[in-house]
């Protein structure tokens, strides 16, 4: 299945784009998606420990099992206020 991934804030600059699509096998986890993504975008891999992950509008961690229709967002620590 294909999963759209959006990069927010300076992650878009590091990725060189604000959105991409990653193809993963059915029932892949976010960790598996990230492994594929980081091959293409090594600059993001370096920030993995501080990366926040959302599916839709909810936070998720690496063990989340992806399903068709999921939209993943990756972003750095938030700075509202």
């Amino acid at each position: 299945m294909t999963i759209p991934v959006t990069f927010w804030s300076y992650f878009a600059e590091l990725a060189g784009c604000s959105e991409t699509v990653v193809t993963v096998s059915a029932s892949s986890t976010i960790d598996e998606l990230l492994a594929a993504l980081y091959q293409a975008h090594p600059a993001l891999a370096e920030l993995r420990r501080s990366t926040l992950i959302a599916v839709g509008v909810e936070y998720q961690d690496g063990e989340y099992v992806l399903k068709p229709g999921d939209h993943v967002s990756l972003f750095p620590p938030v700075q509202g206020g």
Binding site: W8, S9, Y10, L52, V57, E58, S73, G80, G81
Partner: protein
């Protein structure tokens, strides 16, 4: 619990918001916070901050915070406005009002919302120098 949320590119009309306050006769405390862009970001002098926001998720996460606040039962209303886009030094980027029966609850809840927001609401800021501010419009008008 009444709630009002606005994520907006417009300047925050604090006086207008205050003028529109409503509270029931049991309420004794309204606490307001206005967060204003400072002229210094770390060691660097700045002219403005550009705020970007993942709006649907920010709205959802704000409402999750409001849900948690409502569970406490002591707050009658919360109103929150977060400005996005370019916010000049001296202008407000965040305005919050909490109305409660007693002041300790209102102060506590207002600070709690700010603290939690800074953990979970997807908003980011990037500094704009005076040179950048004078030579460019907001480079990311839709972000």
């Amino acid at each position: 619990m009444k709630r009002f949320l606005s994520i907006t590119r417009d300047p925050i009309d604090e006086a207008g918001l205050v003028a529109n306050r409503t509270l029931s006769s049991g309420m004794g405390a309204a606490v307001y916070f206005s967060g204003v862009v400072r002229g210094q970001e770390g060691a660097e002098a700045i002219a403005a901050l550009d705020y970007s926001c993942f709006v649907p998720m920010a709205e959802h996460q704000f409402h999750r915070l409001f849900d948690r606040l409502a569970e406490r039962g002591s707050v009658e209303s919360v109103r929150l406005v977060h400005r996005i886009g370019r916010v000049a030094v001296g202008e407000s980027s965040l305005w919050i009002e909490v109305v409660s029966a007693h002041r300790a609850e209102a102060f506590g809840a207002c600070q709690w919302v700010i603290d939690e927001m800074k953990q979970v609401v997807p908003i980011w800021k990037s500094p704009v120098t005076a040179a950048e501010a004078s030579t460019s419009l907001n480079p990311n008008p839709t972000s």
